[in-house]
């Protein structure tokens, strides 16, 4: 499946689009993405995911990391941004 890493995630990963195979849930996708150099600390804070990290599966904001995924899906992972 295709994963889009927006902003700083993509910058550190060196690519904004990564292909991931043989995963069945969003959590498994995250685990795969986190194996890339420098990405783990950006996604995880202690035991959990940084608050405000957003997951958009096929255009839909998802709440549950156990959400199933399939080969044709697109997952966008994006960081919190702020501004005044």
């Amino acid at each position: 499946m295709m994963v889009r890493l927006l902003g700083y995630l993509g910058y550190i990963a060196g690519e904004q689009i990564v292909k991931i195979g043989e995963v069945t849930s969003v959590r498994e996708v995250l685990n795969e993405v986190a194996k890339r150099k420098g990405i783990g600390n950006l996604l995880y804070s202690g035991d959990g995911i940084w608050e405000g990290t957003l997951f958009i599966l096929n255009g839909r904001v998802i709440q549950n990391l156990e959400e199933p995924v399939s080969e044709d899906d697109e997952l966008v992972i994006t960081f919190p941004t702020a501004g005044g």
């Binding site: 600390n41 940084w50 966008v76």
Partner: protein, 598 residues
């Protein structure tokens, strides 16, 4: 110390100035910045005054954290009655002017009356000079600032208006160096007083009330700032990082809000902008260089920020990054508030594309979406109030009334064009646009907590109560004044970290409920100002398009949803069904002296 207890009060009509003292009782009630600004405006601005008359005070205010060691505490605040909403307004600006004001020994400036001739106010610590500024009339903001620095020295800090402010464009902004007080039309307020510029140089030292306590706080704070991935994102891409985030959410407004995705979004994203960035810059004493010096073929700018990309990009159908940088620069040079300018231009473009306004009506311009060449011509016409520009200078709502067209697709609340976060998808933002005392902005009831799904996205449940907490939180943040860009680090609602900051800066021992009460009091006082001006629930509205036309992803906020959120919000604040603060609420908030005003 963190606050001096005195403001410089300048009466332009009488050409006199003096110190205006604010005692600790007021500071404990309203903190500074936004809060004391609201207190001073309520006290000094009489009911129903014309915002563009000498009777309207303009208050330039610092917060207690400004000029101290606290990182991300560089902004200053400007408060007045808005010529766009005819109600309370406030705006915030980074850079160095606020700190210099503090270093000159003042917590702020209060400017009343109006001058007979164009002037430039220069302040050197306790000395004040009202200098003739006829030679600066009509000049662009960068030219004005350069001339002032040539005359007075490179180290002065500047605050100026452009041609738009001089010509009383209702959404004219104030520029300080390369940053702006964008919202509320305060450039026009300054223009109505015939003040082209304010310069300042200070040499006093802001001594912390309890240095050891403050240093301990700052050390822990700085560490948490650098750890946070959201801050790394901000440092790398600036607020422009939000473009693709919102695009994938289906909440990136385009073509005067006819759509909420933009087919050329990638071309003007934070990632694309990064290729144009030559330097990362920060405000005074800030450790997060979120400002981006970017260059195009023919110019440079600081930014564009996300809101600039929305206003001069997606909203007007412009997906060309070079043109975007050029338009960002041009609005700043002319002194036009960017969000509202984008809203006005987009509205005129939709009128043009629908054939409601023809080429003759708009002085021969071709106002199809995306035609940036003629947008530049139109911006100059607006700033100099020429031809169609003279009508559009009134804002889209007034222009619609004057021309008798385009009322169906006005994107305004309280006469002001809405900011760039979706009120269809983001329910806290929908309510925020409707109720914000200064008009439809994204900086009072903030969208981030919902745009990042920390609370359920696109769901109105409990959003009235949550929005109250957001309003209380930003009222405190905007009064101690640290940058909202720190929200991810410090938190998106009042918490122990913010309490610790306030107590460390002020050397106080406030409890959380005390701090929450301060935020409630400030927001309620702003509301009281508007109630005194005749504002009712009717003004807490949303544009028809938001309520009647769903976005591509199906997001919409209906009037019924808004009504429910409004009821919940008013009740949480202790206001009545019409949005008027109840007498018992005022007494609970130690504002009993204002009971007779309601």
């Amino acid at each position: 110390m963190s606050w001096w207890g005195k403001y410089l009060f300048i009466n332009l009509t009488e050409r006199k100035w003096d110190a205006y003292h604010v005692n600790e009782v007021i500071v404990r009630k309203y903190l500074g910045g936004n809060g004391i600004g609201a207190y001073l405006l309520y006290k000094l601005c009489k009911e129903s005054v014309d915002p563009l008359s000498g009777e309207n005070p303009l208050i330039i205010n610092t917060g207690p954290a400004n000029g101290t060691l606290v990182p991300m505490a560089s902004k200053f605040c400007v408060v007045s009655k808005s010529p766009q909403t005819d109600g309370f307004t406030k705006g915030f600006c980074g850079g160095e002017f606020g700190q210099e004001l503090k270093f000159a020994g003042w917590d702020g400036l209060i400017i009343v009356g109006s001058s007979q001739e164009w002037i430039h106010i220069h302040i050197e610590n306790d000395k004040v000079y009202l200098l003739n500024a006829e030679n600066l009339r009509g000049s662009l903001t960068s030219v004005t600032q350069q001339k002032l620095k040539e005359k007075l020295g490179e180290d002065i800090k500047t605050l100026v208006i452009g041609p738009a402010g001089e010509n009383l464009v209702r959404y004219a902004c104030i520029i300080s160096d390369l940053r702006a007080v964008g919202t509320g039309g305060m450039g026009a307020v300054l223009g109505s007083k015939k003040v082209k510029a304010i310069t300042i140089r200070g040499s006093k030292v802001v001594r912390p009330l309890n240095p050891e306590r403050l240093i301990n706080f700052v050390k822990a704070f700085e560490k948490s700032v650098y750890e946070h991935p959201g801050v790394k994102n901000l440092i790398k891409f600036g607020t422009a990082a939000g473009v693709m985030h919102l695009q994938y959410l289906g909440a990136l407004p385009s073509y005067n809000w006819q759509k909420e995705t933009f087919d050329l979004a990638e071309n003007i994203s934070g990632e694309a902008l990064r290729e144009k960035v030559v330097k990362d810059v920060s405000c005074f004493g800030c450790i997060v260089p979120c400002g981006k010096y970017s260059v195009s073929k023919d110019t440079f700018t600081v930014g564009p920020e996300y809101e600039g990309i929305f206003a001069m990009g997606t909203l007007i159908g412009n997906g060309n990054l070079n043109e975007l940088i050029s338009l960002d620069r041009l609005t700043d040079e002319l002194g036009l508030g960017q969000i509202q300018t984008g809203g006005v231009v987009a509205w005129a473009m939709e009128c043009y594309e629908r054939g409601i306004l023809n080429r003759e009506d708009v002085d021969g311009l071709d106002l199809r979406f995306g035609n940036t060449r003629d947008v530049k011509r139109l911006l100059k016409k607006i700033a100099f109030s020429e031809g169609i520009g003279n009508i559009l200078a009134e804002g889209s709502e007034r222009a619609s009334q004057i021309l008798g067209v385009g009322g169906d697709f006005l994107m305004t609340v309280k006469g002001m064009e809405i900011a760039g976060h979706s009120p269809r998808a983001v329910k806290t933002q929908a309510l925020g646009y409707a109720v914000s005392n200064r008009g439809p902005v994204h900086c009072d009831i903030r969208p981030g907590i919902e745009e990042n799904n920390i609370i359920p996205f696109a769901n109105p449940k409990d959003k009235g109560k949550i929005s109250k907490d957001l309003a209380v939180w930003t009222s405190v943040v905007n009064s101690i004044i640290y940058c909202l860009s720190a929200e991810r680090v410090v938190g998106l609602k009042l918490n122990e970290k913010i309490l610790e900051m306030v107590n460390a800066v002020m050397d106080w021992e406030l409890q959380m409920e005390d701090l929450y009460r301060i935020g409630e009091r400030i927001y309620t006082l702003e509301r009281l100002f508007n109630v005194r001006e005749g504002f009712t629930r009717e003004k807490d509205a949303l544009p028809n398009r938001i309520k009647k036309e769903a976005s591509e992803r199906g997001y919409i906020t209906t009037q019924e949803e808004l009504n429910e959120m409004l009821d919940e919000f008013y009740e949480a604040f202790g206001w009545d069904k019409d949005g008027k603060p109840k007498k018992e609420t005022l007494i609970k908030l130690s504002m009993g002296e204002l009971v007779y005003d309601v």
